[in-house]
Each structure stands twice: as structure tokens, then as C-alpha cells.
């Protein structure tokens, strides 16, 4: 079956982040197959599709439950704040209960699902539904002896749904995360639009993803997108897709809190910049993050300092040793310091919590120390989604942000996070230990900064009770970023900076 590529409208679902990935919503007036293994979130997706239709778009819905009873659905979904019973009383939600029951059903001879189709059509008419959910098809196959007959009947049901002009979500089970779309060959009759929900374990970490496999005649984003199932809210996709959609870049510049570093950056960074600080342990990343947040608060900008590595108390103590009184800033309502451990929640839930925090506190600056700690509870792809999601969210809100990450080795450049993330950020500040004449010293350099001139040379820096001090350029030496310094024997390589430094 094929549809014309034009004239297919999309119906926004209202499911957090989904409509961005779907570039508008589900194909309107058509059925979409939502498949996934047990526990992948199909029913939550389906229920939220109807709930958002009612609460956000004034569209009534019909829920056809093959699996659970209406009572079960009402109870299970109450935790998301969906007031199904109230909507039923208002005539905006109707159940068609096709769940298995205790009645003994004997099949003798041929049959069809005419009664089900008639009941659905009646329910759609009664509440004037624009949305219909069928959840989930596997159960109906289990109830009747002939899968071929059930498949044929369901195909007729799908045609009936199209004739009713409703936007439908049909869920179906699949038994493996990567493989055939769904069991019982259901993709044969609802193949035009397919969304796959996955619940995969990669390197011991669980990750939920959503993929739009196809929307016939409707553009959509491709690939797997991480999502969380959030109590009180529903499904929340990480808006990774939004990274490219930068409406306008800010030209206003803000200080990172250190005058010398500001100079290296070319008078601070753009207000909507995402600054990435990378270095081995002990080089001063937490100091830079703290300085960045405190600098915001000291000029009256609300700032958020979040640590995935240290407790709040540790953060406050550390700041005090560098001369920052963070508690006073908090008292003035300009700063919030939070310490949380990665293990406290899944990465997706950390994302949602952080986003809520940002929405509530409305900071102008956010510093997050340290992303590498999140590797403990994440896959590389999951972490990348998280960082891109946060970065794009902050940038869209024109919030200045700084993320830190730890390089795996004390000397040298390698870091998984760094390799994945630096392409997504505007500014990368590298902190390194260098060995010079049998002594370990610290080096700082600015790797890239979008749309502005900066000092590309490598400077030495020190840390004392007043914070970070950027010193002179490591002159006449090479191999600093690799960690082991050697004097330049040939002066053929010109200095990469055209600016006069010291």
C-alpha cells in the first residue's frame, strides 16, 4: 500500500520530545505501529498519546485494551498524573475492553472480529474521538487458534480505522531488540508507519531508545533517540535532534571568571557558548567550574553549579579554599550548588531532573562537574546523547554553560568523552600536566572557539588560594599536549598565534 507524498498531515502527540524527532507528530488519520519488547514502554507511549490529545489538543480518544483491564490501565497510569476516570466521566476518553477474561471461550468454526470493529466504531462516534489506541496485538493472537485468520481480521480492523479517519497507535510485541519488526507478522498490515521502542543493555547499562523506522510520505528524523519514563510526566525524549537548530547566535560576551583566561579566549565567551574543560584529575577542572558559576553570581546572574563527583559540602569546602563564599551567593538567591551521584538515577532521569531544575531556577549560567563520572552509569552513545541534549537545551535557552571531563591518563590527550563531545561544543579548554626538566607543571590551552579570535598558544598556569593564574607561554618547546616536552630543535614551525602574548 502506498500513500501520496503530499497531503499527509501530522498530528502532534504532545509526548515530550517526540514531535521534534517526528518533525511534527504522527501521520494524521493513519495508524502507526509501535513495537517493542516487554517493558519497552509501549503502553505508556500509547496512553500518553491519548492523554496529551485530551489535555493539550482537546482531542478525545478511545483506548482498546487487549491485554489489561480498564481498571488496571487507570491504576497503572495514575502515577503519570493522567486522570483517565475523570476524562471518562467527561466523555473524552472511552475504553473498549477486549481483555481476556475468565469466561471459557470455545471456538467452533469460522469467525471474524466484527463485534470488536463495531464496538470501536461506536466508541469513536460516542466521544467523537480523533485518536485511537490498540494495545497490544500479541494478546489477541494468543486468544484465538488461527493466527492467519486473526491477522486477516486485524487487517480489516486497520482499514476500518482508516475509514474512521482517526490517528491510531497500535502496539505490538517483539521478542528481540534487533530483528523482525513485530511478532505474528503484524507489520504486514500496518507497515506504513512504524516506531520501535527499545530497552537495551549495553556494557551493563540499560538504555531506552525510540526509533522512527518509517513514516510513509512524511519526513522524520532517523536513528535511535534516548528517552526516559518519568513519574508524573510520561515519556521524555532527549532532544538531541535540536543541536543543529540554533536560531541565532549570541554576540554578547561573558567572562569565565578568570581575567587571564578570558584574555586567552578573546575576551570571554559568547553568552550562549558551551564551554568544555578537559584535563586529568587534579589539574583544576572543579576550580574552573566553580569559578565560572561564582563569576555569574557575582555579577548578578543566577548560576547553577552541579557536581556528579562531589557532595554539596565538598563543593562548598573546595570553593572556600579558593576564596569563594558560595553559601553567601546562595543566600542572595543567585546560586545553587548541588551534588549528586551518577548512580542515583539513570542517565535519562538525570537529564529530566536537570532540565526541570533549569526550568524552575532559570539560571543564566550552568556549570557541570564532571561528565566523566557519568560514564559509570552510561554507554558511550547514551552519554553522548545526554551531553548533546543538555548542551542544546542550554544553548537554546541562551544559558552559558561549562562542562568538565576527566582524561583517562595523567599525561597525554586520550579521552572518550573528549573525542565524542568536543565537536559539539564551542570552546574547548584543555588542562594538562607536562613534564619539564624532571618537574610536573600545568599547561592550559584553548583548542577552538567558534567565530572568534583567540590565543592558540599553550600557557603555563598555577593554582593557589586565589584560584587559577595563567602564566607565560611554554616557549620554545613542543609535544606539550602529548605530555612529554622536548625543546624544538628546528625553528621551522611558525608560532600558531599571530597575536602578541606577553
Amino acid at each position: 500500500m502506498s500513500f501520496p507524498t503530499e497531503g499527509v498531515h501530522q498530528s502532534p502527540t504532545g509526548i515530550g520530545g517526540f514531535d521534534e524527532v517526528a518533525l511534527g507528530g504522527l501521520p494524521a488519520g493513519r495508524p502507526t505501529l509501535v513495537t517493542g519488547t516487554t517493558g519497552s514502554g509501549k503502553t505508556v507511549f500509547a496512553v500518553e498519546f491519548l492523554a496529551r490529545g485530551i489535555s493539550e489538543f482537546g482531542e478525545a480518544g478511545v483506548f482498546v485494551d487487549f491485554e489489561e483491564t480498564p481498571t488496571g490501565i487507570r491504576e497503572n497510569m495514575a502515577s503519570f498524573g493522567f486522570e483517565i476516570a475523570a476524562w471518562e466521566a467527561e466523555g473524552r476518553w472511552a475504553f473498549v475492553d477486549a481483555s481476556p477474561d475468565a469466561r471459557e471461550q470455545v471456538v467452533v468454526g469460522a469467525f471474524d472480529l466484527g463485534a470488536l470493529v463495531a464496538r470501536i466504531a461506536q466508541a469513536v462516534r460516542t466521544v467523537d474521538a480523533k485518536r485511537v489506541v490498540l494495545d497490544s496485538l500479541a494478546t489477541i493472537f494468543a486468544r484465538f487458534p488461527d493466527p492467519g485468520l486473526v491477522r486477516f481480521e486485524l487487517a480489516r480492523l486497520v482499514i476500518a480505522l482508516k475509514e474512521l479517519g482517526v490517528t491510531a497507535v497500535i502496539t505490538a510485541e517483539r521478542d528481540q531488540e534487533y530483528g523482525s519488526i513485530a511478532g505474528f507478522g503484524v507489520e504486514q498490515f500496518v507497515a506504513d508507519n512504524v516506531v520501535i521502542l527499545r530497552n537495551v543493555v549495553e556494557r551493563g547499562n540499560r538504555r531506552r531508545t525510540l526509533e522512527i523506522l518509517k513514516f510513509r510520505g512524511v519526513p522524520h528524523r532517523i536513528g535511535e533517540f534516548s528517552f526516559a519514563i518519568v513519574p508524573g510526566e510520561g515519556i521524555s525524549l532527549l532532544p538531541i535532534a535540536l543541536i543543529a537548530e540554533r536560531e541565532h547566535a549570541s554576540l554578547e560576551r561573558v567572562s569565565v571568571g578568570n581575567a587571564e583566561l578570558d584574555r586567552m579566549l578573546g575576551e570571554g565567551v559568547h553568552r550562549d557558548a558551551v564551554v568544555f574543560v578537559s584535563g586529568p584529575t587534579g589539574t583544576g577542572k572543579t576550580l574552573l567550574a566553580t569559578t565560572f558559576a561564582a563569576a555569574g553570581a557575582s555579577v548578578g546572574q543566577r548560576s547553577l553549579l552541579l557536581s556528579f563527583e562531589e557532595s554539596r559540602e565538598q563543593m562548598l569546602r573546595g570553593a572556600q579554599s579558593w576564596g569563594f563564599d558560595l553559601e553567601a551567593m546562595e543566600g542572595a538567591g543567585l546560586l545553587r550548588v548541588l551534588g549528586t551521584y551518577p548512580e542515583e538515577a539513570s542517565l535519562e532521569n538525570h537529564f529530566v531532573t536537570l532540565r526541570k531544575l533549569i526550568d524552575e531556577f532559570k539560571p543564566e549560567r550552568v556549570a557541570i562537574d564532571n561528565l566523566s563520572a557519568l560514564q559509570r552509569v552510561s554507554t558511550p552513545r547514551g552519554l553522548r546523547d545526554f551531553i548533546v541534549g543538555i548542551a542544546s537545551y542550554l544553548r537554546r535557552s541562551e544559558i552559558s554553560s561549562m562542562f568538565t571531563s576527566t582524561t583517562a591518563t595523567l599525561l597525554g590527550p586520550d579521552s572518550v568523552t573528549e573525542a565524542h563531545v568536543s565537536t559539539l561544543t564551542d570552546v574547548v579548554i584543555l588542562l594538562r600536566y607536562v613534564e619539564v626538566a624532571a618537574a610536573v607543571r600545568r599547561a592550559v590551552c584553548v583548542l577552538k572557539i567558534r567565530a572568534s579570535a583567540h590565543d592558540t598558544r599553550i600557557h603555563e598556569f598555577t593554582i593557589d588560594g586565589e584560584g587559577m593564574h595563567v602564566g607565560p607561554v611554554f616557549d620554545g618547546m613542543g609535544g606539550i599536549l602529548s605530555g612529554s616536552v622536548s625543546p624544538w630543535s628546528i625553528a621551522a614551525e611558525p608560532s600558531s598565534s599571530s597575536r602578541a602574548g606577553q
Binding site: A98, D101, R103, V108, A110, D112, A118, I140
Partner: protein
């Protein structure tokens, strides 16, 4: 008996049910045919999914049989109108 419209299958099913009743409980039965397209609210009430579906209301407890009852012997047994031990004599 719930049926959908006036399709051939509906007529076959009603005919089979009537034949079974005539053979086994003549004069002591009443068949009410419900078209789910005309009375979907009844189907909703009884939570009927498939058609044809026979709902034997009396005697208690109710019995449900789905299908066109083309195997009358089996249908009679499923509706508990025939003694499973007794040989089936008429109407088949």
C-alpha cells in the same frame, strides 16, 4: 447470538444454532439474534469481540461459543446442550 450484518457467515451460524436446538431442545429454546452493527452497545455490554458468538444465557451458568458452529456436534457439546457420552443422532 451476536452476528455482524447479514453476511453469509451470519446466516450459516444462525441456521446451525437453530438446527442444534431443534434437534436437542425442541420447543424449549429462544434465539435472539443481535447485529453488532445495529446494536454495538449490547456487544460492548457483553464484551463480545468475535462474531458469530453464541451466549447461552439459560440455564445458568452462561456458556460462550465463538464461530459459525459448522461442526454441530462439537457446538452442541460446547453449549452443553448434548450429553458428551450420548451418541449424536439428528441434525448433523
Amino acid at each position: 447470538m451476536y452476528v455482524t450484518g447479514t453476511a453469509l457467515r451470519s446466516a450459516v451460524a444462525v441456521g446451525n444454532l437453530r438446527a442444534i436446538c431443534e434437534a436437542l431442545v425442541r420447543g424449549a429454546y429462544e434465539i435472539d439474534v443481535v447485529d453488532v452493527r445495529k446494536q454495538p452497545e449490547l456487544a460492548e455490554q457483553d464484551r463480545v469481540v468475535a462474531t458469530p458468538t453464541v451466549l447461552r444465557l439459560a440455564p445458568e451458568p452462561p456458556r460462550w461459543v465463538i464461530g459459525d458452529l459448522s461442526d454441530r456436534r462439537l457446538a452442541a457439546l460446547a453449549l452443553e446442550l448434548a450429553d458428551p457420552e450420548a451418541p449424536y443422532e439428528r441434525g448433523a
